[in-house]
Each structure stands twice: as structure tokens, then as C-alpha cells.
Amino acid sequence: MPDSSRIDVRKTYKLFIGGAFPRSESGRTYVAEDAKGRFVANAALASRKDARDAVGAARKAFAGWSARTPYNRGQVVYRIAEMLEGRRAQFVDEVSQSEGATARKADSLVAASIDRLVWYAGWADKVAQVVGSSNPVAGPYFDFSLPEPTGVVAVVAPPDSSLLGLVSVVAPAIVTGNTVVVLAAEGRPLPAITLTEVLATSDLPGGVVNVLTGRVAEVTPWLASHMDVNAIDLAGIDDAELARDLEVAAADNLKRVLRPRAETWTRTPDLSRMLWALETKTVWHPIGV
């Protein structure tokens, strides 16, 4: 029997930037509640500067991460799945608390999240074979096309699906070599925060995934207008007006934009979430003696 007189150790929740766990530079926090509106935790309330720090960390990590072999990236993403599996019970509790799901439902969502990571991990060294090509040009040239990561990807995580949705938008971006700044589900940040502890112990280089917690309306305009962000996934924007404004801001440096769309996160995905954040590079060389 647990000792009911014991005072539990409460935790201060922080951001995850460049592999470290800083508080918001603004010093602000906000209250995360459970599905019934009860206090769960104080989460860091990310500011404009936090967003910019996160982009800086993601940019710094890009060269190294994108230069890893696809095999290695696949192993790292698989390792995330392993670490998540090891902390399954904690995630089931947190998903259940955040989303108001039954333990059974939460268990299946966590299982699906782990399986999703495994699925994407396997794509690391296959996507180039599926979407790359050798191009039979009409002349004495060898010509081939390969997918390459587009760079720093900002992601607004889905508000409803606090873990499975998050994993489903982050994994496809990083497995191909992009680095990510993700804003966790505003009202349900706890599973995302705990996921950062998994990421920090998964051989994932610091800065490849940076997790912010805070207000969608406050943080996303800074991400959308940041000139060193190459692409933005608006998965978690459910306000059409805001989605339009963000897309307008993203045009300043022609970010690739993934518009909000209806998603069933429990369904096995197609390739679209990997492909939208890839560039095609075509290389020509003459053939001759």
C-alpha cells in the first residue's frame, strides 16, 4: 500500500530546445488541465524568443542530422520507439488523463504511437528508392533525382491527439533528415513533455526535435514568419482564419506549407507527410570516354 502521508515530489515542466530543458526565457507558465478541467501541471509558456531559440537549435542540428546515413537515422527513430515502449505505462496514464480516454483506449493510442515510430523508422532508407529515379534523358547524360530534406520544419501538433498525433507529424519529418520545432497540443501538453524525456535518451542529436509548449495564437505567427524556417505543418490549426494568416506569413520566404486537413491518426498513414517536406534534387553528368 502506498504511504498516503508521503508528500509527492512535483515536477516543473520545461521546454526542450537543442537537447536541453530550459524554462521559458519569459519566465511564464500556464496551467495544463485534464479532460475534466482539473489541474495537471504548470507548463512553460513559450515566448517569441523561445521560438527563435528553437529554430536556431534546429538549424544548427540540420547539417549533422541530414548528413547521417539513412540507416543511422532509421536506427535512431527505432530507438525512440524502444524507449517509448519502456515507458508505456506512464504514457498510458498521461494520455488517459489529457484526453479523458479510458485506460484501454489510451493503451491502444500509446501502442499505435510506438508502432507508428517503427513504421517511419523503416522508411529512412527506403524513401529514396521509392520516390527517387534515374531519368532516361534523350542524350549522352547520366541523370538521376533524389529526395533531400527541405531543412527546418515547424510543426503545430494536433490539439486533440496529444501523443499519437504528435508522433505522426514529427516522425515523418525527422526520419528523412529534417529538423523540427514542434508546438505541443496547447491544452494537452503533458504527453509531449514526457516524450521529450524519451527523445533526450534516444540517441537523437540535440536540436533535431525541439518541443515548445504554449499558446498556438502567440507562438505560431513567429514560426510562420521566421526566415530560417523552410516549411510549416499546420496540422494543429483548427481556426481557418489563423491558418490563412499563417500561410500568408509563410509566403515571405516561400515556406512549404502543409495545410490543416481532416486526419484519422489511428489509420496507417500514406507517404504524404514524409514527401511534403522533401525536395527533389536532379543531377546531370555527361557520359563519354
Binding site: D143, V248, D252, R259, T280, T282
Partner: protein, 477 residues
């Protein structure tokens, strides 16, 4: 000893110009209901070639409605195999009328007949042949077993490769089952109107292809039309950004093929003679009116003097003049407006301290002309190293190590193309890997092929045209 060339003009009698042209809507040439007209001139002589219609919003709306009808009733439901046969038919007619189209293109655009005859028009036919073959094979393209067309495509193209850009836009759109409304650039409408005639000749069902001529306002009306499902644009980065803003919050799918400031990188072990040809081709092909032009020469310091000497010698042999002369290497600048831009940026280059050298050539008195020009002593901060000049002007920078070359090459918001000249295979692949650009030409430059995807990184736009990849833009994938 200097070689003199006797003029060898291509006859323009093969071209049958009308004094004025209407809009091509729903299979017929029609008058505008709410537009105006403007004159199209030959940039080589400033002679008025024809009166062109500037379509108003009402005209654009009629064209989009015609395209919608054609998509719903005819082209959308038609089997891929039948669509393919129409496209093959068009490809054949393009080949049959190749000489006429080449002359017309050179007249209207100012590009040398050598280029329109040997590059542009053959590629135009090749793109139609290539995409014709895809029309009944889309299930094998990797976008699911039964990919669907998007509907009506609104397409806006530039003046540098008028007919070729039309082919890049229309061929894949039609192959995938879409119908199109295309707006050519205001200074180069004539080959698009000739293409409209070809659609009639091919008995293409009315409304499948609609051509609305005009300037920026016409393009805006098309891009912003509510019933357009897909927007495809090739042109400046500035307009590309405006389009990206205009389509925000809609369901329109967009591809943008925009500006560039490509580095053409010459290492000290490069085959120098070939590299010189590649540099010349990279920046003086099509008067430098090429989005993927190699407009920044990065040359390794140890061979910089030799490369520059040889480059100047080669530039002095370029024949600048009458686009219809078969000897001509460099034709006319497309418009007075573009010439003013090239002059203004060149003056900035001198003002900022770079050294200008232009090939000694006589320029015709009438028309719009600019001599092949290089700037040396250019730093990365100079505007001529950062901004797209879109003319026959090359900025020369130097580097010492491969890492420095990569750093300089990638130091631009653009990312359309790059060139690498070296004899070392592993270095080519390493450079190709490091360069943040959509197309890398190694020991060659400015090669195009319908099977080869083309498009940019970063602010050079998004989406790819050409090859299997080019289908994605026109499918509900």
C-alpha cells in the same frame, strides 16, 4: 585573323501574322468583353508585330467556365488512352510546324533562331510526346492505383521560353485529365496563340485548352479565380510570393518555379576548354534570360586568371545581333523594361566597386540590346552577386577550398540550379550532395529533358516540373 560571317537569315515568310488576335476560349478565337488591347513588338527591331487582347476579369471568368465545363463533361471522364492520342496528335503537329514556330518565337521573343529551332521547339514536342504516354499509365506513377485529376488549372508563364514553358505547363496538366486556362507573358503571346490554332487543328475538344492573353492583372484574375483548382506559375520570386499569399486559405494546389542566382563552380582540375563553353552556355544562352542561368561564376583562385583570359577571348567571338540570322549566338533583350533592369543593376555593380568588362561587339541601332558582360572583383555582398539580373551579365567570384565554394554557392535565398566543373568523380558527387539546389549540372550546364524533374529549393519555388515527379502537381495525390 578575324573570321567574317555573311548573314544567313532564316526567312520569316513561313510565318503568317495576323494584325490582331482575340482570346482563345472554348475552342474559338473570340473578342474581349471587358478587356483592352496592346501592341506586341519585335524586340530586335521594335516593329509592331500584332495587336494582342488584354483579357479582363470577365474574359478570364468565361475561360474558367469553359474549362470547367470541358473538365466535367469531356476531358475528365475521357479514358487516359483517348487523352493520350490527342496529346500525341498535338506533338506531331508541333513537329510539322516546327520551323514556323521557331521563326515566330525568335521574332516575338528575340532569341536566336539557332536556339528556338534546335532547343525550344524540339523540346516542346518532346514534352508533349513524353506526357502523352503518361495519360493512360497514371496508375503506375506512384500516386495510388487510380489517381484523379484536380480540375481546372490556371497557368501563368514567363516570356523567356514562351512556347517551352507552355509545354511544361499544358502537357502534364492535360495528361492527368485537367483542363487549363493559360496566360502567356504580355511580351510573348504569339506562339501561345499559334498553339491555340494547333489545338483546333488537333480537334481537341473545346474548352480543354483556353489561352487568355494579357499582363499582370489578367494573371491575377486567373490565379485568384474561385473555380481554379490548381495554380502553376513560372516567373519572378516577387510575383511567386504574391501568388502564395493570394492562394492562402484556399484548397488550391500550387507549384511555383521562380528566380535563381546559380553558382557555376570551376575547380582547378576542370577541363578548362569545356568549362569555358559551360560558363558561356550557362550565362549567355537565351541572353541570360534563364531562371537557372549560371549567373555567379565561382572559380578556384589558382586558375582564375587563366579562366578569365580564356573566357574573355571566347566572349569576343560571340555573335550578337539579328535573332533570325542562323549565325547569331546572342539575340535581343526581350523588352525595353528588361533592358532597363539589366542596365540599372549593371550600373549598381560598377557603383559598388566591381569591374565591368563587355565583349567588343557592335549592337544594332534599333531594338533592345545588351552586350555579353562580366564583372570581376565581385564580393558576396554586392547586389550583382545576390539579385537576379536576368540578362547576359556574369558576376565572377573566387574560392580556395571546396568547403568555401559550397558556402558561397549556398549563400543565397535562391536554390534553383548549380554547376560543377571538375575531373574528380568523388568531388562531383560530394558537391552535388552539398549544394542546396534543385538541379545540379556537373561538367555540363543548362540541359533540359522531359524525363528530368526541374524545380527549386528555398525561394526558387516549390514543386517539380518534368518527369514522373511532374505529374504530382496535377493529380489528387
Amino acid at each position: 585573323m578575324a573570321f567574317e560571317y555573311a548573314p544567313a537569315p532564316e526567312s520569316r515568310s513561313i510565318v503568317d501574322l495576323q494584325s490582331s488576335y482575340g482570346l482563345f476560349i472554348d475552342g474559338a478565337f473570340v473578342d474581349t468583353t471587358d478587356g483592352r488591347s496592346f501592341k506586341s513588338v519585335s524586340p530586335a527591331t521594335e516593329e509592331v508585330l500584332a495587336e494582342i487582347t488584354e483579357a479582363g476579369p470577365g474574359d478570364v471568368d468565361r475561360a474558367v467556365k469553359a474549362a470547367r465545363r470541358a473538365h466535367t463533361r469531356v476531358w475528365g471522364p475521357m479514358s487516359g488512352a483517348e487523352r493520350a492520342k490527342y496529346l500525341y496528335r498535338i506533338a506531331r503537329i508541333l513537329q510539322e510546324r516546327a520551323r514556323e514556330l521557331a521563326v515566330l518565337e525568335s521574332l516575338d521573343n528575340g532569341k536566336p533562331i539557332k536556339e528556338s529551332r534546335d532547343v525550344d521547339v524540339p523540346l516542346v514536342a518532346a514534352y508533349f510526346f513524353y506526357y502523352a504516354g503518361w495519360a493512360d499509365k497514371l496508375g503506375y506513377a506512384g500516386f495510388g492505383p487510380n489517381p484523379k485529376s484536380l480540375g481546372v488549372a490556371g497557368q501563368v508563364i514567363p516570356w523567356n521560353f514562351p512556347l517551352l514553358m507552355l509545354a511544361w505547363k499544358i502537357a502534364p496538366a492535360l495528361a492527368c485529365g485537367n483542363t487549363v486556362v493559360l496566360k502567356p507573358a504580355e511580351t510573348t503571346s504569339l506562339t501561345a496563340l499559334a498553339f491555340a490554332e494547333i489545338c483546333q487543328q488537333a480537334d481537341l475538344p473545346p474548352g480543354v485548352v483556353n489561352i487568355v492573353t494579357g499582363a499582370g492583372d489578367t494573371g491575377r484574375a486567373l490565379v485568384e479565380h474561385d473555380d481554379v483548382d490548381k495554380v502553376a506559375f513560372t516567373g519572378s520570386t516577387e510575383v511567386g510570393k504574391a501568388i502564395a499569399r493570394a492562394v492562402a486559405g484556399t484548397d488550391k494546389k500550387v507549384t511555383l518555379e521562380l528566380g535563381g542566382k546559380a553558382a557555376n563552380i570551376v575547380f582547378d582540375d576542370a577541363p578548362i576548354d569545356q568549362a569555358i563553353e559551360g560558363i558561356v552556355n550557362g550565362i549567355f544562352f537565351n541572353q541570360g534570360h534563364v531562371c537557372c542561368a549560371g549567373s555567379r561564376l565561382l572559380v578556384q583562385e589558382s586558375v582564375a586568371d587563366e579562366v578569365l583570359d580564356r573566357l574573355k577571348r571566347r566572349m569576343a567571338t560571340l555573335r550578337v545581333g539579328d535573332p533570325l540570322d542562323k549565325n547569331t549566338d546572342v539575340g535581343a533583350i526581350n523588352s525595353a523594361e528588361q533592358l532597363a533592369k539589366i542596365r540599372a543593376l549593371s550600373e549598381v555593380g560598377e557603383a559598388e566597386g566591381a569591374e565591368r568588362w563587355s565583349a567588343p561587339c557592335e549592337l544594332p541601332e534599333r531594338g533592345f540590346w545588351f552586350p555579353p558582360t562580366i564583372f570581376t572583383g565581385v564580393s558576396q555582398a554586392h547586389r550583382i552577386a545576390r539579385e537576379e539580373i536576368f540578362g547576359p551579365v556574369l558576376s565572377v567570384l573566387t574560392f580556395r577550398t571546396p568547403a568555401e565554394a559550397v558556402e558561397k554557392a549556398n549563400n543565397t535565398p535562391f536554390g534553383l540550379s548549380a554547376g560543377v566543373w571538375t575531373d574528380k568523380g568523388s568531388r562531383i558527387l560530394w558537391m552535388a550532395n552539398q549544394l542546396r539546389a534543385g538541379v545540379v549540372w556537373a561538367n555540363t550546364f543548362n540541359r533540359f529533358d522531359p524525363t528530368s524533374p526541374f524545380g527549386g529549393y528555398k525561394e526558387s519555388g516549390y514543386g517539380r516540373e518534368g518527369g514522373r515527379h511532374g505529374l504530382e502537381a496535377y493529380l489528387n495525390a
